[in-house]
């Protein structure tokens, strides 16, 4: 087990390292002079360009530059945005909390409502099943930006329960502001997870070992908990992990649509203004978060279903 986790962590670090190399190296794939690219395409005087070249070590060999950048990122020295005229660390620090809250909120919705409704659909009888199936069919067809538009339409002109713009201040107000973005972000994933949960629980309910447990006179509640839900947990968790990891990228849409000031909207705004200093750091952060969540899911999954662990160790 420890060896397994160790190998997973090593693989994750390796992936993030290579990703950082790719992200930094991409600067040289782009057309034009890196210095003017970093300047965000502004017209700069030769002196200013030279200052940029010096600041970002652009005249050093590529690997030295990369190392300077990477060690800067690792120690929190992220450089300055030439577009916002602010240190990147400030820009990110001011927005990180909103994005983390948004992802956490959406994850809770997905795990709570998605998994919960899937279980209800599987064991709650025909009417509950039909209601959940119809709802999830509609939601699954709604990408985040469509869900966002519909929510804005409803809550801006018909109901005014939730604000449709801005991030709010203080915890309660932030949560209030993040409700619609979280719903828009999670709707499609939530429906998908509900479907997966329903299918997995159904499959377990009909499995031979559950029939055998019934034949042994085990109580219905105990069968549901110890055999059905416990066994369905591993595949459901695997899918939830992938969706939660995907949420980090999705924050760009939800934050942009609802005017939430977070990493996703910062990434979009920086990309639109070609502020590469900021884009590189956020892209790396999002990739790292994505890989990290995927790794955590792998590990938890191996704990929940030890057969996987063995299969991977053998294979």
């Amino acid at each position: 087990m420890i060896g397994f986790v160790g190998r997973k962590v090593a693989a994750m670090l390796g992936t993030v390292l290579v990703a950082s190399f790719v992200i930094y190296g991409a600067l040289y794939l782009a057309p034009g002079d890196p210095a003017s690219l970093l300047a965000g395409g502004h017209e700069m005087s030769p002196a200013a360009l030279a200052a940029i070249r010096a600041q970002y070590h652009l005249d050093d060999p590529f690997l030295v530059q990369y190392w300077q950048w990477l060690s800067g990122v690792l120690t929190g020295h992220l450089g300055d945005s030439l577009v916002f005229r602010e240190p990147v660390a400030h820009l990110i620090g001011a927005r990180l909390l909103n994005t983390v809250l948004l992802v956490a909120y959406a994850s809770l919705l997905i795990l709570g409502v998605g998994v919960g409704s899937g279980i209800v659909a599987a064991v709650g009888g025909r009417i509950a099943d039909t209601a959940v199936t119809v709802t999830t069919t509609v939601l699954m067809a709604a990408p985040a930006f469509v869900a966002a538009i519909v929510l804005i339409w409803i809550f801006a002109t018909k109901l005014s329960w939730f604000p449709v713009y801005g991030s709010g201040t203080g915890f309660g107000d932030r949560i209030h502001h993040l409700t619609l973005p979280a719903v828009a972000l999670s709707a499609g994933y939530l429906a998908y997870l509900s479907r997966i949960t329903r299918a997995e629980v159904r499959a377990e309910l009909g499995s031979d070992h559950v029939v055998a447990a019934r034949a042994r006179g085990v109580r219905r509640a105990a069968i549901l908990r110890r055999h059905v839900l416990r066994n369905a947990a591993a595949p459901v968790l695997a899918v939830s992990g992938i969706t939660v990891a995907g949420l980090f990228a999705g924050t760009a849409i939800a934050e942009q649509a609802f005017g939430v000031s977070g990493l996703g909207s910062l990434l979009v705004q920086s990309a639109a203004r070609q502020d590469l200093v900021v884009v590189q750091v956020i892209a790396l952060l999002l990739v790292a978060a994505f890989v990290l969540v995927n790794m955590l899911v792998d590990v938890v999954n191996a704990i929940l279903d030890p057969r996987l662990l063995r299969a991977r160790e053998v294979g």
């Binding site: 031979d208 055998a212 042994r216 006179g217 110890r226 591993a234």
Partner: protein, 314 residues
Amino acid sequence: MTAFLEFDHLRVDVPTPMGPRPVLRSVNLAIAAGEAVGLVGESGSGKSLTARSVLGLLPGGATIAGAVRFRGTDIGTLDAAGLRRLRSREVAMVFQDPRATVNPVRTIGDFLTEVLRERGMSRSAALALAGGILADIGVDDVPRRLKQRPYELSGGLLQRVVIAAALAGEPALILADEPTTALDVTTQEEVVAILDEQRRQRGTALLFISHDLELATAVCDRIAVMYAGEIVEILPAKSLHEEARHPYTKALLRARPGSVPPGERLQIVPGTPQSGIEAPPGCVFADRCPVVEADCRTTVPLLVGGVACHLEVP
């Protein structure tokens, strides 16, 4: 006197696109306390369903007519709590494939003690009891086994665990549904020997389901031959060869390896096996019977004197 276990004109219909159709037509069989009865027949004859009906484990939408009575109680009248009591204390079942019937993600110890603990036994007492039974039936290294998970055990060993779990509840009856079919040949005999030995020691009755006549005769007192949802013949295991009267039983006996001299061609039962759904309306075996008569196709023969065949009516 009420029988220990009695199938009384048991009929089970399952829903099909053409409406309900019988999978069991009319099963009549009585088993005495401590007796071992073998239920033998081809695939689809309804053997498993017969055994499952004792526990009230019927497929969804199935309707039941007639009755299964255990110690005088009609299983069909039991409520959920009564069924659970029956399943956990009085009747145990051993299924065909231990790989499929033991929850793959829980430990062997969890599996063995689950029912005992629901009865209120402490974890350590339940583990001690289960471990004792495992040791009794020749499983070595018991403490380690209890911590292992199903995928770490061989099929034969896992089936012993299943049998130990069945024995742990001290049931009065064990239903064994082809308990060795999924195992390889060398472990089959060991597993059957354990089952036989343990149930004799404990005086437990046994309903042993098999498509293997030889195996059933080895462990059972009586053999009930089933075809297409009906029991067509019941006879003592010892005198199976001499006393077989039903054409189907005779055909089955001829179809076994060892029934013909070496070098001669093995006989098969002509035609394909039928289920209760497909069998003809009169005698269920009429379509495949070598000595069929006009009467067989129209009238259902009754199980009289141990055989259900028009040609055997005295």
